[in-house]
C-alpha cells in the first residue's frame, strides 16, 4: 500500500523537535565530532543528551519499525538486522539506501548512501522499482501541500538523482571487504555531499565460508566493526549490517535459530533487530538497544518497498488484497451501494502487497 501524504506528515511530526537542526545547513559530521573530541576531556550526560537529541535518523518507511528504533535507524551507531532467508533483509537494505537520499523537508537526510553488497543480491530492477515509488511519494506529498518550496525540492528529486546518490560496491570475499573499509573514509571525503548511510548486505556471508581459524575470523570481524564505527562517528552516518541466521544445536539435542557469526559478534552491534515470520506475517523484534525497550512490530514488503501492516490489512475482507502484484478491484455489490456509502466505505482500489 502506498504511503499517503498524511503518513508522511506524521513521519515529519515524529522528527518534530529536530526539524530546526535538520533544515539548518550543517557541516557533515559536526555534531558527532563534538562527542569525539569531548570524549578525551569527558563530557557530562546532559551535554551528551543535547547532542544525541540532535542526531538524525534514517526512516524505513515503516512507522512501526521507525517507532521501535526511535525514529528510524540512528546515525552514529551500528544497527544490525538478522533474519532467515527471504524475510526481507535485502529489501530493507535497499529501502534504507534510497531513504537516505530523501530530501530534508521530506523527513530524510538528503544525502548519499554507500551500499556494500557481499551476496550479489542487489538487483537493479528492484532498486529502480522502489526508488520510483519513493520519488512518486515525494512528489505527491509536495503536490498535496502546495508549498512552493516543497514543490521546488520535489522537482529536483528524480530517479536519476536517487540512483546517482547510491554508491555501490560488490565484494566477493572478506579481503575485498576489509580493503574497502580501509579506504572508505577517503571515498566518503571525496563525495561532495554528505554521506548518511553505509549498508553492508550481508556482513555474514564473506565470513561464513573458508574460515577454519575462528580466532582469525573474530579478530578480522571486530577490526572491521571498529573501522565502521569510526566512520560512523567521524562522518556522523548510520551503519547498517545485515546478518544471516544459523542453526545451533543445544545440549538437549534441540536446534534453535540464532544469528550467525557467534556470540562475540553480538556484542559489536549497538542495536540488533531480528526479523522473522509469525505465521504469514513478517515481524521485527528489537532484541538489543541501549535506549529503547524490547518490542515487536509487524511490517510488510510491498511492490513499493518496506511498509507498515495497516489496520486495513487485519480487517478481514480488505486484507484479501494481500495476494498478488496485480491490482485487485474491490467492488461493492451494486444493490448495496447506498448502504456502503452511508457506512463511508467507498469502493476502493488499492495496490496489492506481495505476501500471500
Amino acid at each position: 500500500m502506498a504511503i499517503t501524504p498524511a503518513d508522511a506528515s506524521s513521519m515529519e511530526m515524529m522528527k518534530g523537535p529536530h526539524s530546526s537542526t535538520l533544515s539548518s545547513p550543517e557541516v557533515p559530521g559536526s555534531s558527532l565530532q563534538v562527542v569525539g573530541s569531548a570524549k578525551n576531556e569527558g563530557c557530562t550526560a546532559l551535554e551528551l543528551l543535547s547532542i544525541e537529541q540532535d542526531l538524525d535518523h534514517i526512516v524505513t518507511f515503516s512507522a512501526g519499525i521507525d517507532g521501535m528504533l526511535g525514529g528510524g535507524v540512528p546515525v552514529g551507531k551500528i544497527t544490525e538486522f538478522c533474519g532467515s532467508p527471504g524475510i526481507g533483509k535485502t529489501q530493507l537494505s535497499i529501502q534504507l539506501a534510497i531513504d537516505a537520499t530523501l530530501p530534508e523537508p521530506f523527513g530524510g537526510c538528503g544525502g548519499h548512501s554507500v551500499y556494500i553488497d557481499t551476496e550479489g543480491s542487489f538487483v537493479i530492477d528492484r532498486v529502480v522499482q522502489i526508488a520510483t515509488a519513493t520519488v512518486r511519494h515525494v512528489h505527491s506529498v509536495a503536490k498535496s501541500s502546495a508549498d512552493p518550496e516543497l514543490l521546488a525540492v520535489a522537482d529536483g528529486y528524480t530517479l536519476e538523482v536517487v540512483l546517482g546518490n547510491i554508491h555501490y560496491y560488490r565484494c566477493h570475499n572478506h579481503i575485498q571487504l576489509i580493503a574497502l573499509s580501509n579506504i572508505l573514509h577517503q571515498t566518503i571525503s571525496n563525495i561532495n555531499s554528505k554521506v548518511c548511510l553505509i549498508v553492508v548486505d550481508s556482513i555474514a556471508s564473506p565470513f561464513r565460508s573458508s574460515f577454519k581459524d575462528m580466532g582469525l575470523r573474530h579478530r578480522l570481524l571486530s577490526g572491521l566493526a571498529q573501522t565502521f564505527l569510526k566512520l560512523a562517528t567521524q562522518f556522523s552516518l548510520a551503519v547498517v549490517f545485515t546478518n544471516q541466521m544459523t542453526t545451533k544445536t543445544q545440549s538437549n539435542g534441540q536446534s534453535q535459530l540464532v544469528p550467525a557469526l557467534g556470540e562475540s559478534w553480538g556484542h559489536v552491534c549497538t542495536i540488533r533487530v531480528i526479523l522473522y515470520w509469525e505465521g504469514k506475517e513478517r515481524q521485527a523484534h528489537l532484541y538489543k538497544s541501549p535506549s529503547h525497550p524490547e518490542s515487536v512490530v509487524s511490517y510488510q514488503i510491498t511492490k513499493d518497498g518496506v511498509r507498515d501492516v495497516t489496520d486495513d490489512d487485519h480487517a478481514g475482507l480488505d486484507s484479501v488484497a494481500k495476494v498478488d502484484w496485480e491490482e485487485i478491484v474491490l467492488q461493492e455489490d451494486e444493490s448495496l451501494d447506498k448502504i456502503s456509502a452511508v457506512e463511508g466505505r467507498p469502493p476502493s482500489k488499492r495496490h496489492c502487497p506481495l505476501e500471500c
Binding site: G83, Q91, L317, E355
Partner: protein
C-alpha cells in the same frame, strides 16, 4: 602473483624478507595480519603502517559504481520462464548474475523444469530464449535426451516453423552440453573447469550452468550426524556457491541448481523459521538468491510453484501443469487458488463465501451476519 609483485613495488627487499618470516607473502596476507605483528616485524610507526595498508587496500578494494551507472549498463538478460506471473514477479525472469534454486519433493518436476529452462536458454532470442550455450551437470543420471528433444520440438513447433524443424533442433541440441558427475570431487572439478575456462576468456559467451541435483550428491557424501560432517558440507556448498556466483556475475547469466526437501520440511515451524526448508539447511538457503519451490497440487499433473525467496521481493505462487512443452501456467487453477488464499483472510464474522469462476472472470462473494457487507471480489487480469 599480482599482489606479490605489489609487495615488491612498495616495500624494500629486506622488509619483504622480514614479512616472509611471519608468513606474509601477498597483499591479502598483509591485510589479514594483525597490525601489531606487522609493525613489530618491520619496526615501523603506525602512520607508516597505515600508508602501506592504504596502498594494498586501494589495490584490492572493489570498484566504485553508482546505482545510476549500474542502471545505465543494465540490459535485462534474465532467463524468462515463460510462466507469465512468475516472470512478472521476478521482474523479467530468473535474474542474470545470480543463483536460482529449484527445490521440491521427488517427482515434483524439478528435472522437467530444468530441461525446459535448458531449452529456453538455448532457443534463439527471437523465439524468447537467450540463444546461449548450456552446461547441464547431471548428478543422478536423470537427464533424458529424448525428453529434451521432445520439449524442444514443442517449443519450436508451437511457433509454427515446420520445415526447418530438424535443423533447428540439431542446432539447439548442439548447444546443450551434458556432464555426468557422480561425486562431489568430480562436481568441484567440473565447476572449476567451467568457471576457470570462463575466467581466462576461452569462451567469450559463458554457458548457463544447470546442476541437477546438487543436494542429492551432497547429501550422499557428507554424514551430517557428526559436527564435522555438517561443517565440511557447509564449507563445500559455500565454496561452490561463491564460485558459481562470481561466474554468473561476470558473464551476466543465471545459474540454476536443484535440491530436494527433507523431513525438516514437515517439522513444525519454530519462531523465526521459514515454513519451508530444503535438505541443505538454512545456511545454504542464504547462499542462493532466488528460490523456487515446487509441490504437488490436487491431481497428478498439477503443481504449485512458489517463489520462496527473491531479491525482487515478490513472493507469489501459481499453479502449473506439466505438459509436452514442460511447465505451463494454468490460469484457471491459479486464479481459483488465489481466491482460496483470499478466503483464508476472512474474519470469522464474514461467515459465508463462495468462489466461482469461468475462463474470463473470477469472483468471490462474501456475506456477514447482517448481510450488509456483501462484497464481490473480482480478479482483474
Amino acid at each position: 602473483m599480482m599482489n606479490a609483485l605489489l609487495l615488491e613495488e612498495i616495500l624494500e627487499k629486506e622488509d619483504i624478507i622480514k614479512l616472509h618470516k611471519i608468513h606474509i607473502f601477498t597483499g591479502e596476507d598483509f591485510i589479514r595480519s594483525s597490525p601489531l605483528c606487522v609493525m613489530g616485524c618491520l619496526k615501523c610507526t603506525h602512520t607508516q603502517y597505515d600508508n602501506i595498508l592504504s596502498v594494498f587496500s586501494h589495490w584490492l578494494a572493489p570498484n566504485h559504481q553508482t546505482a545510476l551507472s549500474l542502471y545505465s549498463i543494465y540490459n535485462g538478460t534474465g532467463l524468462l520462464t515463460h510462466l507469465s506471473k512468475i516472470d512478472t514477479a521476478l521482474l523479467g525472469g530468473l535474474p542474470a548474475g545470480t543463483i536460482t534454486e529449484i527445490s521440491g519433493p521427488s517427482g515434483s518436476g524439478k528435472t522437467q523444469f530444468c530441461l525446459m529452462l535448458a531449452v529456453i536458454s538455448s532457443l534463439p532470442t527471437r523465439r524468447g530464449g537467450l540463444g546461449k550455450g548450456v552446461s547441464f551437470i547431471d548428478t543422478n543420471c536423470s537427464f533424458s535426451a529424448k525428453r529434451l528433444i521432445s520439449i524442444a520440438e514443442n517449443w519450436l513447433q508451437s511457433r509454427s516453423i515446420s520445415r526447418t524443424l530438424s535443423d533447428s533442433i540439431k542446432q539447439l541440441a548442439d548447444k546443450i552440453k551434458i556432464y555426468t558427475e557422480l561425486t562431489c570431487t568430480g562436481l568441484e572439478k567440473r565447476i572449476n573447469a567451467l568457471t576457470s575456462a570462463a575466467a581466462t576468456g576461452e569462451t567469450a559467451d559463458g554457458d548457463i550452468i544447470i546442476i541437477d541435483s546438487l543436494a542429492g550428491l551432497v547429501r550422499k557424501e557428507y554424514d551430517i550426524r557428526t559436527v564435522k560432517g555438517v561443517s565440511d558440507r557447509y564449507q563445500f556448498l559455500s565454496q561452490m556457491s561463491s564460485k558459481l556466483k562470481a561466474y554468473a556475475e561476470e558473464k551476466r547469466i543465471p545459474v540454476i541448481v536443484t535440491s530436494q526437501v527433507s523431513t525438516q520440511f514437515s517439522s513444525s515451524a519454530a519462531r523465526g523459521q521459514p515454513s519451508i526448508l530444503t535438505s541443505l539447511g538454512i545456511s545454504w538457503t542464504h547462499c542462493v538468491d532466488t528460490r523456487l519451490f515446487i509441490e504437488f497440487y490436487k491431481d497428478s499433473n498439477k503443481r504449485k510453484l512458489s517463489i520462496a525467496k527473491s531479491p525482487t521481493g515478490g513472493l507469489i505462487s501459481v499453479i502449473v501443469r506439466i505438459e509436452k512443452k514442460g511447465l505451463i501456467l494454468d490460469y484457471h487453477e491459479t486464479n481459483l487458488h488465489k481466491l482460496t488464499l483470499l478466503s483464508l483472510f476472512l474474519s470469522p464474522d464474514q461467515l459465508d463465501h463462495q468462489i466461482s469462476g469461468d475462463s474470463n472472470s473470477y469472483s468471490m462473494t462474501v456475506k456477514d451476519q447482517t448481510d450488509r457487507y456483501t462484497h464481490r471480489v473480482a480478479l482483474r487480469e
